[in-house]
């Protein structure tokens, strides 16, 4: 139409007015490090794999997870999940059940027989891994994916190391270990069982290995001197647990005293309970001082395990022991009280920690051994070039997860070393703390509690105590993730911009700012639920 001058205007013509020039600060998208990822000893990108799980794409989630950890079904059972302790959701309602989702994904992978993708090229290098425990398996897996030929030498009859000999069935069914180990074998890793490496250099020469990763674990039960009569039965926890794997169960009698307050002590007590015995844990300090995880102590007590806190064994005789009551001093250390008590006991199981068998290192030049562990550099290499070590045999917290983490880390360094390079890990993003989030946008959704086996079966069988999640509640639990510091495409920035200055790039592509019109008001930053945008000054 022939419009009147000035008073009538063509639609949308204000695009000519670039309001971006009003800006003194501008918003920028960024990824921040979610606290779960930050705390995972295995270095998992938890928020990353949850992102896929949220959409129900469990295989993608599993593949993302196994980028860092080849044993989700195992970890989903035995990991002590520090991630959940760090989870920002605990400030909204309760932490996301990361561990249970990991287990769900691991079990899905076994059920659906998902396999690892074989490397396309081979490096021609050969790496010897000593020990088929979590650390060794992890290293082997990563090295194989990097195209190296990997051979694991395992002294024992089965793969799994402490996962098999240290963790009872009711916490970790053996078929789960079998399945995840088999998947690593299918990737091309060869495992030689009953093959004890007694001299590492000899084994390396014999097998023409270019490098070695040692992860023999800590299998030798610590002994402590207890005055004991000849007839007294005193055994160590590791051998008890190991013997559970064999055919003939250990003969411990009815009243079994377990001496120690760590997870191993709990494991032994709960195991013998299942064999019909009446375990009593004797520990010299209090429950809150005990190194065992409280939820495990709780489960043990539920199952009828007795505990004598603040007690030490003074004397072991046939059929009974004498304990002395202790009291904590002001520094929290237990001190003898001189009060004694006699307990009936058919046997005493010592659960006082384990030592490493360092025999295979005898005579290797350059190695440094300190209080029973091999010293390694930040790249996990021992004093001897080409020989790396990890897991329980190096100084660190002795958990499966730490072991898996060592395996990954060592593998990356070994790979670099084989190439004559040094591996530099990528810089870490800034942490996405709760203060960076706008939690208003997350709707109320309480944590899903994993179902547990009924108490009678727990006391009488080795059936798995903690059950898995079904798909419905696994999905629900995954969707409780706040996606801290990482855009999950909620469209908030796109919606709340008063200047339509956010461009939506489509599914998976996130967004970008249209700085021609963005006035820099910062509403998008304030309303981003997960803290994936920040304001930065315009450079002048």
């Amino acid at each position: 139409m022939d419009k009147p001058f000035a008073i009538t205007l063509d639609p949308g013509s204000s695009l000519a007015n670039r309001t971006g020039s009003w800006r003194t600060y501008k918003p920028v998208y960024l990824d921040r490090l979610p606290p779960c990822n930050a705390t995972c000893p295995a270095g998992e990108n938890i928020q990353g794999w949850l992102f896929h799980a949220e959409s129900g794409d469990y295989e993608a989630a599993w593949r993302s997870l196994t980028e860092n950890n080849p044993l989700p079904a195992i970890m989903g059972r035995v990991c002590y999940h520090p991630c959940e302790g760090a989870c920002n959701r605990q400030y909204v309602d309760s932490a996301v059940g990361i561990n249970s989702i990991e287990r769900f994904l691991g079990d899905e992978a076994i059920k659906r027989n998902w396999q690892f993708v074989k490397p396309t090229t081979q490096s021609g290098k050969r790496v010897l891994v000593v020990g088929a425990g979590p650390s060794g398996l992890s290293a082997a897996y990563h090295l194989a994916r990097l195209g190296h030929t990997v051979e694991i030498h395992e002294a024992g009859p089965y793969a799994g190391g402490m996962m098999r000999f240290g963790i009872p069935k009711y916490r970790l069914p053996r078929e789960v270990i079998e399945a995840e180990v088999q998947r690593i074998v299918n990737l091309g890793v060869s495992i030689k069982l009953n093959t004890k490496v007694s001299n590492i250099e000899a084994s390396m020469q014999a097998g023409k290995f270019d490098a070695a990763f040692l992860a023999v674990g800590a299998h030798i039960g610590k002994r402590a001197y207890i005055p004991a009569g000849t007839a007294a039965k005193v055994v160590d926890a590791i051998s008890v647990l190991r013997s559970m794997e064999g055919e003939e169960k250990p003969m411990l009698g009815r009243r079994v005293v377990v001496y120690g307050g760590g997870n191993t002590a709990i494991d032994v007590a709960r195991s013998v309970k299942r064999m019909g015995a009446e375990p009593i844990i004797v520990y010299r300090r209090t429950r809150d001082k005990a190194p065992a995880h409280d939820f495990e102590i709780e489960e043990a007590l539920q199952e009828g395990v007795m505990v004598k806190w603040l007690s030490t064994i003074k004397q072991a005789e046939e059929g009974e022991i004498v304990i002395e009551k202790m009291a904590l001093d002001d520094k929290g250390f237990p001190q003898p009280t001189g009060e004694f008590e006699t307990l009936a006991a058919d046997s005493v199981v010592l659960a006082l920690g384990q030592d490493v068998d360092l025999g295979l290192l005898d005579g290797v030049p350059g190695l440094e051994v300190k209080d029973g562990t091999v010293q390694v550099g930040p790249n996990m290499m021992t004093g001897h070039a080409g020989i790396f070590a990890g897991g329980d045999m190096v100084p660190s917290e002795r958990t499966v997860t730490v072991g898996v983490g060592h395996g990954k880390k060592a593998a990356r360094h070994i790979d670099a070393w084989l190439k004559g390079e040094t591996y530099a890990p990528p810089p870490k993003h800034e942490l996405a703390g709760i203060e960076k989030l706008n939690t208003w946008y997350y709707s109320e959704a309480p944590h899903v509690v994993r179902p547990t086996l009924d108490i009678l079966r727990r006391q009488s069988s080795f059936d798995e105590v903690v059950q898995g999640l079904d798909e419905g509640n696994a999905l629900f639990e995954a969707r409780r993730c706040l996606s801290c510091g990482n855009c999950f495409e909620c469209d908030n920035c796109y919606g709340v911009c008063p200047d339509n200055a956010v461009i939506k790039l489509g599914p998976g592509k996130r967004f970008e700012f249209n700085y021609d019109y963005c006035k820099g008001c910062g509403v998008c930053v304030a309303e981003c639920p997960c803290g994936a945008i920040k304001m930065v000054p315009e450079e002048n």
Binding site: P11, S14, D491, V496, G522, A526
Partner: protein
């Protein structure tokens, strides 16, 4: 075992959208094909709540009418920042006439459309929306608005309430909340701002006209706002939606806090968000995490005089009582 089934992604209905929603569950604003009825390049202040509210509401109305919409606009910020010659931000047929006559202009548009429809019944039907600020609605335009209500003309009137005459430099309107400082109600004497009471609360007056549909909304609850515009378009006759749109300039808040302020207004009970049909209250948007009014008042410079060395406890208590009254009256703590 039982677990709660999830309709939406864990951000529920609070975010604008998300990648996991079925298309029919997505908000209009989440769509990359939304109309952007008011386009980029407008001259609103940084973080303008009215610019945001207008796009939310008009886009939703465009969606509901398949783009067959004409808008009348009162004089005020929205008009000034959207259509300074030689540019307009509007992508829809739009007319600005005067400050106080928008409802009547819309009536005229509706009347003309009715006749055109009658003369050409197979033509696509076109609907009318009128919009203005609280000054143009509750003060100078109130006569025309009431007339439009009383005749039940087929017009959806949307009031963007930022609690004052911000365009002219923050003077008091009849929608200025109690104790809020404006350029014409300086923070002197015991009670700057309105005399106590809800001021002139036009949604209630609209309900008194018993028009088919009345609703309040805020820019902090997008989905609620869009649902109300959609609902409004299902009715014939006069409809009224009153949207709270924070004004960083007039309220003395950070430009980034626009939505936060609207959210606080609702969560404290200061601004009740509800829906009424034919004069009867139908539903209210429940408070999710109730907060004391201080949470809402403190960040705003217009209330700074309440929080000096000696906080004005009496006035704050009165404001809390106001919020409590809303909570009782509109049952804001009862979740349906």
């Amino acid at each position: 075992m039982s677990y709660q089934p999830i309709k939406f992604y864990q951000t529920g209905t609070f975010t604008v959208g998300n990648r996991l929603l079925a298309p029919e569950e997505r908000s209009v604003q989440a769509s990359s094909k939304r109309f952007n009825s008011i386009n980029s390049g407008h001259r609103a202040c940084q973080g303008c709540g009215e610019a945001l509210g207008a796009r939310y509401a008009i886009d939703a109305a465009m969606e509901a009418t398949h783009g067959q919409l004409i808008a009348a606009n009162a004089t005020g910020c929205l008009e000034v920042f959207s259509t300074p010659y030689p540019e307009t931000s509007w992508q829809i047929p739009w007319i600005h006439s005067l400050f106080g006559n928008t409802a009547a202009v819309a009536t005229g548009i509706a009347a003309a459309l009715k006749i055109k429809q009658k003369k050409n019944p197979q033509a696509q039907e076109i609907r009318v929306v009128a919009q203005g600020g609280d000054g143009g609605t509750t003060d100078i335009g109130f006569g025309c608005l009431s007339g439009m209500f009383e005749r039940n003309d087929d017009v959806l009137y949307i009031c963007y309430d930022n609690g004052g005459y911000m365009n002219t430099g923050v003077q008091r309107s009849s929608a200025t909340p109690p104790a809020a400082r404006t350029a014409t109600t300086m923070a002197v004497g015991p009670e700057p701002g309105n005399a106590f009471g809800q001021g002139k609360f036009v949604p209630a007056i609209a309900m008194a006209h018993e028009i088919p549909y009345v609703a309040t909304a805020t820019v902090a609850d997008l989905r609620d706002l869009e649902a109300k515009v959609r609902r409004a378009m299902e009715f014939r006759g006069a409809r009224y939606i009153h949207i709270l749109v924070p004004c960083p300039l007039g309220w003395g808040t950070q430009s980034s806090e626009t939505i936060k302020m609207a959210r606080l207004a609702k969560e404290t009970g200061i601004f009740p968000v509800f829906e009424a049909e034919h004069g009867e209250l139908k539903s209210a948007l429940a408070i999710r995490r109730q907060l004391p009014v201080e949470e809402y008042l403190k960040p705003q410079k217009r209330y700074a005089h309440l929080f000096g060395k000696q906080p004005n406890v009496a006035v704050i208590a009165k404001l809390q009582a106001l919020a409590d009254r809303n909570i009782r009256k509109y049952k804001l703590l009862e979740t349906v």
